[in-house]
Amino acid sequence: MAEAAGPPAAATPLLSAATRERIRTACARYPAARSAALPALWAAQDQLGHVPPEAMAEVAAELGIGAAEVEAVATFYAMYFRRPPGRHFIQVCTNVSCALRGAEGLLRHLEERLGIPDGGTTLDGAFTLESTVECLGACGGAPALQVDRYSHEDCTPDRVDRLLERLRAEPGPTGAPR
């Protein structure tokens, strides 16, 4: 019973040797391997673009913890994708400061402009929109949103429209890699 319960590993592992090496390096930084769940999930997501359940199970096996525990971590944080996201990931803050400065309207504008609900991905695969990120730490520039790894402050519908145009031309996520 002491063995962590999890599904059997996939016939062909999803995680590459390089990713596994990254996970093992992360594990070595902590007294308990479970503490490395976040960096391990990053490693998996960097390789695969998202973290499907099979990858969670492989991460769990690598860390020696339960697959359910990895899933609990992955579902708690908004920055891990369980399904392939669009090329650009737009996160809208709707916390107090941004809400007071019109974040709800901004979110609705984005939903209309992209033709997707909060949490959805456009059919052309260009954008994923989410507002579960909570505070982006940019209250001074509310309303704020984050696209990929860039932060955008003092957003208005006009500025967001121009931003979307620019982003459509970008081939991949914007911002420096981790």
């Binding site: 002491a2 962590a4 319960a5 199970a57 339960g66 697959a67 359910a68």
Partner: protein, 642 residues
């Protein structure tokens, strides 16, 4: 194995609502409140798990601390002033209840937990008089989703107390259940919603303080106020878990755990917990049946006893008592087992009696010396193979507790591992426990001997098959050993030899008490009993035995009789009548056995009731004196009663 007496812990005195109470240093405020007789509501705190302080229900005022403190996670200090009944605490509880009920579906009328639900009780006691949330504005989750074929999950009813998550982490270690998502979307779930597979799922609805986790077997079956609870012992194996048998309309509807810290520690295995339908079987032997001469006819039980006695007497007139044998079952009570060996040995005069198939040479109480609770105090516990945990599953949880909470070494070795190389693997040279299944008792002896040479203090626990296999051995229902392991001059045949003799036509009569699953599954069983000219059988259920008996006496299930049973560790516990016999039902098995013996000229001194019969047992087996209240028998040379 008794530990050196530790110095009494330092006492700390504090006040709870003005009442002074002294508790050992390190006690949690919640436990101090309980000791002071002050009830503080909790959802997340659980006596068997570490505190997490997430439900916020137990927040109370402490001294001059500006904010309310969780009683379940605050440690007492000398002079601490705890207030649980102030307006501030009550206002807080009201607000907390409002939060907990925010998205709760309020489906109490169709919830199995209704009537025994902490959410209901605390809402009634501490909650706001009315809800400010419109029922239409609630967030919805999955309802009635099977987590396995045993457990149903209702995510809407969940209050996110973490108990099931901690159970899977701290108690079983399978870490199968987690909280997923975040904030209002948080739900209890398994990985990808896959089914639970563990053998201890039935404890989940018991740790759940609300109706989120429920038993499939108990779904829509009853309300608690329609149930009658009878404290008893789980008949599933020889571990001796205490259970409450909940019955309704004279049928068992569920087993609930009763916290016995010495044995089950409040956990049951699913095999035991969900084994109760066996007690509701319909294929019963309800009246005595005779086919001694001519076709089968139903008669009164005592009339059948008389006829069986006359037939046995006839056999004994013409043949040697050696051509008669008695077979019992580990499912009998101590009183019945003792009575059957009296009937066989003293009245009929045969040395051939047993309750199991295989012989147990050199049996001595020392192989049961280690108590279940003492497993936690052993520096190392050596477990031989998988059979101990397969036979008595709850053992696994005790081993995990020893490992996880007490930091002990649990060494699971192959049953046929070489004992000589084992000493090097034992981590500390301290107290060592050796746990083995009865089938591996020779190997356990070799392991214990090898470790004793290297380590000194080694004690054994042997796990027997059947609910009362240990009691049958203690009370001499086996060849060559009388009650209390008294060596007898006359060796007799063990179970398998009795069956072989029967099959060869060397037995003239058999007295059999059933059911005995181990024997009845043996391919030789049916041919053997079919060959014996006179089979007197006492069994509650139909089967091979009832088919081949010439005198069939109606027995009772363990839910229908009283008496005592002895678990593998030697704990003598009472079973009680949970299902009342209907008016005019045959007398209990013990009375039928006593009457059979008396009709054959035997002398049984006491009235054939379980309680006086226990006194007869104590006279024959002094170790059983002083076991009342569920204590371990004190065998000479194996430590005192515990």
């Amino acid at each position: 194995m008794s530990a050196a007496p530790s110095p009494p812990p330092e006492l700390v005195t504090l006040t709870v609502d003005g009442r002074a109470v002294s508790v050992p240093a390190g006690t949690l405020v919640w436990d101090a409140c309980e000791k002071a007789g002050v009830f503080v509501p909790v959802y997340c705190a659980h006596k068997k798990m570490d505190p997490v302080a997430v439900c916020r229900m137990c927040l109370i005022e402490v001294g001059t601390m500006p904010k309310l403190q969780p009683a379940c996670a605050t440690v007492v200090q000398a002079g601490m002033e705890v207030r649980t009944a102030t307006d501030r605490v009550q206002r807080f509880r009201q607000g907390n209840m409002e939060f907990l009920l925010l998205n709760h579906p309020l489906d109490c009328p169709v919830c199995d937990r209704g009537g025994e639900c902490d959410l209901q009780d605390f809402a009634q006691r501490y909650g706001p008089p009315r809800s400010r949330t419109a029922i239409t504005g609630k967030v919805h989750f999955d309802k009635a989703r099977p987590l396995s074929d045993r457990i149903m999950l209702d995510q809407e009813r969940c209050i996110l107390c973490w108990r099931c998550v901690r159970y899977c982490d701290e108690i079983t270690g399978d870490r199968a259940i987690v909280l997923q998502e975040r904030a209002v979307h948080t739900v209890v779930d398994t990985f990808e919603g896959r089914p639970l597979t563990g053998p201890f799922q039935g404890n989940l609805p018991e740790v759940c303080p609300v109706g989120a986790l429920t038993h499939t077997a108990y779904r829509f079956r009853s309300r608690p106020w329609d149930l009658q609870r009878t404290p008893s012992v789980c008949p599933g194996c020889s571990y001796g878990c205490t259970v409450g048998i909940d019955s309704r309309d004279n049928a068992v509807v569920r087993f609930v755990s009763q916290d016995n810290p010495d044995v089950d520690d409040s956990w049951l295995c699913d095999r035991g917990r969900y084994g109760f339908p066996e007690l509701n079987r319909q294929d019963r032997v309800l009246t005595a049946e005779l086919s001694l001469e001519g076709p089968v006819r139903a008669v009164g039980a005592l009339e059948a006893v008389g006829a069986a006695a006359r037939a046995l007497a006839g056999v004994l007139e013409r043949h040697d008592p050696d051509q008669v044998a008695c077979l019992g079952t580990p499912q009998m009570t101590n009183e019945e087992a003792f009575c059957l060996q009296w009937l066989g040995r003293d009245v009929i005069g045969t040395p051939h009696l047993d309750h199991q198939l295989e012989p147990w040479p050199d049996l001595a109480p020392d192989e049961f010396r280690l108590a279940i609770r003492e497993l936690e105090d052993c520096d190392t516990v050596v477990v031989l193979g998988e059979r101990p945990e397969a036979a008595t599953p709850v053992l696994t949880l005790r081993l995990y507790k020893a490992e996880r909470k007490r930091g002990r070494q649990v060494l699971r070795i192959a049953a046929d591992a070489d004992p000589t190389e084992l000493a090097g693997r034992v981590r500390d040279r301290g107290r060592v426990g050796v746990v083995a299944h009865e089938a591996d008792r020779d190997r356990a002896r070799a392991v214990a001997t090898a470790l004793a040479a290297a380590n000194g203090s080694v004690h054994r626990l042997t796990l027997t098959e059947g609910m009362n296999g240990r009691g049958c051995k203690d009370l001499g229902l086996l060849p060559g050993l009388g009650p209390g392991y008294r060596r007898l001059d006359r060796a007799g045949m063990h179970g398998r030899a009795i069956l072989a003799a029967a099959a060869e036509g060397r037995l003239r009569a058999l007295v059999v008490v059933g059911p005995n699953p181990e024997m009845e599954q043996d391919p030789a069983y049916e041919a053997a009993i079919a060959r014996v000219p006179l089979v007197v059988a006492l069994t509650p259920v139909r089967g091979l035995l009832s088919r081949h008996a010439q005198a069939l006496l109606p027995g009772r299930t363990m839910a229908e009789k009283q008496g005592t049973v002895t678990s593998s560790e030697g704990r003598v516990q009472r079973i009680r009548v949970a299902l009342q016999p209907r008016i005019g039902a045959p007398p209990p098995e013990l009375r039928l056995l006593v009457e059979l013996g008396r009709s054959l000229g035997g002398t049984w001194e006491s009235a054939p009731l379980a309680t006086p019969a226990f006194d007869v047992i104590c006279d024959a087996v002094p170790a059983y004196r002083g076991t009342r209240g569920g204590l371990r028998a004190a065998w000479p040379g194996t430590g005192g009663a515990a």
